[in-house]
């Protein structure tokens, strides 16, 4: 699943570690999501959307 996480993180000037801390996950998890190797659970996807004040579908693209 493609996503805009890396772009959004850069726009908000956050490191992977800082975002991971906000999401209460590991930095490895943030990295795996960014590179498309891991699809987050629905609760984590909601959390990510909340951090960036966006809708889930505006961050993640199932195509």
């Amino acid at each position: 699943m493609k996503n805009r996480l890396r772009v959004l993180r850069a726009e908000h000037d956050l490191t992977q570690a800082q975002l991971a801390s906000q999401l209460e996950v590991s930095r490895q998890t943030v990295n795996a999501i960014e590179v498309g190797k891991y699809d987050p659970s629905l609760p984590l996807a909601f959390k990510i959307a909340e951090v960036f004040s966006q809708k889930i579908e505006d961050i993640f693209d199932p195509a």
């Binding site: 209460e24 996950v25 590991s26 930095r27 490895q28 990295n31 891991y38 987050p40 659970s41």
Partner: protein, 134 residues
């Protein structure tokens, strides 16, 4: 492997250290109990008690692992799941396949071999999954 590297959360690290503590305690008691029981210095209820203490410490380790998985970061949980699946599958495959080789004259494996294969399969599975999600 159990939350001790830099990429995991603080909860993973604490729970990982807890498992390592239980594992070391279990390994130490198994070594001591094996030496004591093999030397025939105790028997009867005392021997049963020594074996039971080892098993009880093992159950403690199992509880620590269950807690680690339950509280783990979701990617860590996924990696552990893949490690467990690989270890279990490899253990079943090797032990059942080996029984056929025994008919062909291969040495007979004892029960602890299956456990050893599962442990190494689990370690290999976790390492593979960790590499995949890196």
């Amino acid at each position: 492997m159990l939350g001790t590297h830099e990429a995991t959360t603080e909860a993973d690290r604490i729970n990982g250290r807890r498992i390592i503590g239980w594992s070391l305690a279990w390994a130490a008691t198994v070594l001591v109990a094996t030496a004591v029981l093999a030397s025939d210095t105790i028997s009867g209820p005392a021997a049963w008690l020594v074996a039971a203490v080892c098993a009880a410490i093992g159950v403690g380790g199992l509880g620590a692992y269950r807690r680690y998985v339950a509280e783990a970061d979701e990617l860590t949980r996924q990696i552990q799941l893949e490690g467990i699946a690989f270890g279990f599958g490899l253990g079943v495959l090797v032990t059942l396949s080996w029984s056929l080789f025994e008919f062909a004259g291969a040495p007979v494996l004892n029960a602890s071999t299956a456990g050893t294969v599962m442990i190494f399969g689990y370690i290999g599975g976790v390492l593979l999954a960790t590499h995949r999600y890196r």
